[in-house]
Symmetry: C2
Subunit: 527 residues, 2 copies
């Protein structure tokens, strides 16, 4: 570090960034140098070659390019129809939308995909063994791309909400790895999406201080609302080969209203928070919340509206509907994330209200939103969903029956290992009661017992902190498992305690995965 003092976070006065004139809606492409590069999506897609590696914007269904990928998919279909091979390698922030992963996968155009997918068409291709998919910790994608072993990045295709007169790029509804793709790509294609609110300008904070070792410095963020970077991306204008104008909504799934199960899970968790505050182990305003994507975590946010906690903050990957409601209720003071992930209705509403949130929201690159250094420093309360957990509290977040990937690990590993309290939650059964979420042994491990400190189902909450494996097992079976499966779990565990090879974490390898085998053979885990 020598004599340098690492950059100090700037805490802007609330609303300070609003004083600058927001982007004019009538001129989203203000840089005159780029005017002659405006073209349609077909012309832009023609710039992409067979075998190219493309870094796309997009994180949890927001801020992804919507026209060029569709045009590219049409081009790929035409090439395939003409008997010519055409496939590309796609890197993103996280999940995108049907116009990107869906269309390209349907065209058979994706050879390789990282680091996260939730598109159903792409998922089918992956699980049919027809697409290489590399599931990564989201904090590590940008550093890995710079590290070099993934190979060069040919093209970046990035959605922005506008371009300033001097060529700075105003981000849109997600940040993801856009900064890194813009830096690393040989050529850049921009989509300027008029649908994105001009009021987004000023909500972003892009930290340009990351580096490869041995040149890394402390990241000077110590509160969720610290600003440590700049509001616009920089990009060498000579690299920008195409600018495509769009006016298309982010297409995210709607949320179901929380059902009784989600309410029960949220209730257990809020009771736990209240208990920890009472014990003096959490401050009354809690600690920065991280909330995974999904209906259950959304229900927790809604539950917090009625809960006795004030001045909450969030340091998380995505802002979902529930978090905006929690802000609107005056309970959530501030949220830092890398993306908005709103239902179609909420996104529409947000675009008319965005000004109100300009001093309450910051979107950051995912290497910052998910950085272990920052998650551990801030002491996040990490709340993530799961596919299954076992009696010792290992969690499978990704692979159904050990082999079929659902989405990916996303940022759950970044948060769970570094959280102040790492919480996983899920209904205790799935598929109408045919699958028990609690199993003798997980069929795939994403989160080891050390990183799973609290496990919650609608049945109850198991605080596993400081417990050895046998006490964890007894607590998980007794508290979290569905009553229909509890006797079989207890029976397995009792027999393991009699005949296991070792008695530290009793296990019967010949039976440990039999529940999964039964499901594969009969369609149900029930005996």
């Amino acid at each position: 570090m020598g004599s340098d003092c690492p950059g100090v976070a700037i805490r802007w006065p609330r609303g300070a960034q609003m004083q600058e004139a927001p982007l004019s809606d009538s001129n989203r492409i203000a840089d005159p140098r780029l005017r002659d590069r405006i073209m349609d999506a077909e012309a832009a897609a023609a710039r992409i070659e067979n075998g190219a590696t493309i870094g796309m914007s997009g994180f949890t269904g927001s801020g992804y390019p919507k026209a060029v990928p569709l045009a590219l998919a049409r081009r790929i279909e035409a090439e395939h129809a003409a008997g010519r091979p055409f496939q590309v390698r796609i890197w993103t922030g996280a999940s995108t939308g049907p116009e990107l992963d869906g269309a390209l996968a349907k065209a058979g155009g994706i050879e390789y995909r990282l680091p996260y997918n939730s598109d159903p068409v792409a998922r089918e291709k992956i699980n049919a063994g027809e697409m290489d998919y590399v599931d990564l910790h989201l904090s590590q994608v940008a550093p890995m791309a710079r590290q070099g072993f993934l190979g060069p990045l040919d093209t970046a295709v990035i959605e922005v909400s506008g371009i300033t007169e001097d060529g700075a790029l105003i981000p849109s509804s997600s940040m993801g790895n856009n900064k890194t793709w813009l830096e690393q790509a040989r050529q850049v294609i921009l989509e300027v999406n008029r649908w994105q609110s001009p009021a987004l300008d000023g909500m972003h904070d892009i930290y340009y201080g990351t580096a490869l070792p041995p040149h890394r410095k402390p990241i000077p963020l110590v509160h969720p609302d610290d600003r440590i970077g700049q509001r616009h991306f920089r990009c060498d204008p000579d690299k920008i080969v195409a600018v495509v104008e769009t006016d298309a909504p982010d297409r995210n799934a709607p949320f179901s209203p929380p059902d009784a199960v989600a309410h029960a899970i949220a209730g257990h968790l809020l009771d736990f928070f209240a208990h920890e505050v009472k014990q003096g182990r959490l401050p009354p305003e809690l600690l920065p919340l991280q909330s995974g994507v999904g209906n259950v975590t959304n229900a927790v946010m809604l539950g917090l509206i009625e809960a006795p906690f004030e001045n909450l903050t969030a340091y998380t990957e995505v802002v979902q509907d529930g978090m905006l409601d929690l802000m609107d209720a005056g309970k959530l003071r501030f949220a830092s994330a890398t993306a908005l992930s709103l239902s179609p209705e909420k996104a529409q509403w947000f675009n008319t209200q965005a000004d109100r949130f300009r001093d309450k929201l910051i979107l950051r690159p995912q290497e910052i939103s998910n950085h272990p250094e920052l998650i551990r420093r801030l002491g996040c309360l990490a709340m993530n969903g799961l596919i299954e957990a076992d009696i010792y509290g290992s969690v499978n977040s990704t692979h159904i029956m050990g082999s079929r990937i659902q989405n990916g690990i996303g940022g759950s590993g970044d948060f769970a290992r570094n959280a102040y309290v790492s919480i996983f939650m899920s209904p205790s059964v799935a598929k109408g009661g045919k699958i028990s979420t609690i199993v003798p042994k997980v069929s795939h491990t994403d989160h080891i017992g050390q990183d799973v400190q609290v496990l919650v189902t609608e049945q109850g909450l198991a605080d596993l902190r400081g417990l050895d494996p046998k006490r964890r097992a007894q607590k998980i079976i007794g508290t979290c498992a569905h009553p229909d499966f509890r006797p079989a779990l207890q029976d397995y565990y009792d027999r393991a305690r009699r005949t296991s090879f070792g008695m530290h974490a009793p296990c019967l390898p010949d039976e440990a995965l039999s529940w999964h085998t039964r499901y594969i053979q009969t369609g149900s885990m029930r005996p």
Copy 2:
């Protein structure tokens, strides 16, 4: 952070700390206030009550208290002989020695143990289900103790190498969690061990800037040789109830000289490093090395003596024999660790030579040596051993046949997830060829595929970075597996590719753990 600039690391001129007079060997207890608290180990052990929670010093067989635990074990045996219950709860840095874990376990005196053990007597108790053992990430132990859910700490029993006139404590050959135990314990018992070299004084760097959230700040360390703290522990003298004088060696296992297998593993790894330097993906002096405990990692250190890398550094948990040899050969410029873990011969030698290492070594608290923030910032090259790995590159570091714990996860999770390159290595077979280190599925997961980037056996090195599961499997089977087991692994994988539930990571749950079942039933994994 407000207007504060986070403390800047001080880079001491080499050897600057040597200018202060080292501890006088004739007076290890210089503080007159503590003279009347000098007593024998029995009297000190009498201060410990049944049911107490005790924070002990000790990390990988060094710097652990050697007299009081033995006296406590005798007291426990006497109590048990008299029909009275007596058990304690033991927290340490990591593993200790036979005088601590061995003696107390033999006496049946340990009710609860965290966060790491390698003592064979304690291991038997744990695997007989007679001792609760909680295996934790070593970086997280101190913060968890402060967090409060583990309960209060009654007594700290800490080995030091001396006490200064003003009551500061001069650490001994390991740091572990001593700072935290001294802070948290209601009462403190010190062992002052005259066997430890007086020249240790000045090799320690104790950072007092950690806190619980929301008060955490960036840790101002950016090079392995930065000094960010102070050389002595502080401790309220009123809490010190006993001072026991000892003169006893750290008792560590000797190293075997590297065999052909260890040489082959080291050779593959050094070739990989050379290749990465050639590709421009590593600097010529590499990046700070982390090296797990064991003969194979020790062989890598010895291999580096002949390798074409200069000015190496280490940021690691423990300094083993090989690292001192690498320093002596002029190849390793500097090492930061939390403990020395030397063979008896090397420890004896070190004690006569310690002065020569005073500008080449820093020992730090384990929450700093293993801190994710620092490991990721420095970009460590993490090299750890394993018990088994599966065809997709998940690693089991802890549980034999899924149930019997060997030692514990230690710091491998802290390093593997945050390393610049995470490497795991092991011979491809164990137990005279009866166990294959590469299995269809690990029986317990400590390190998920995302955290296992390079896998090495004497058969070869598999660079798994950026590969999807199926390419990982083909590479691991073809490169790392022992030829005796390769056909059976390939057969399993081929059949899984035909009939698996999903084809992302093909798996046959009814057969995945059958190699472990066969070993349990027949004593061999061979069909």
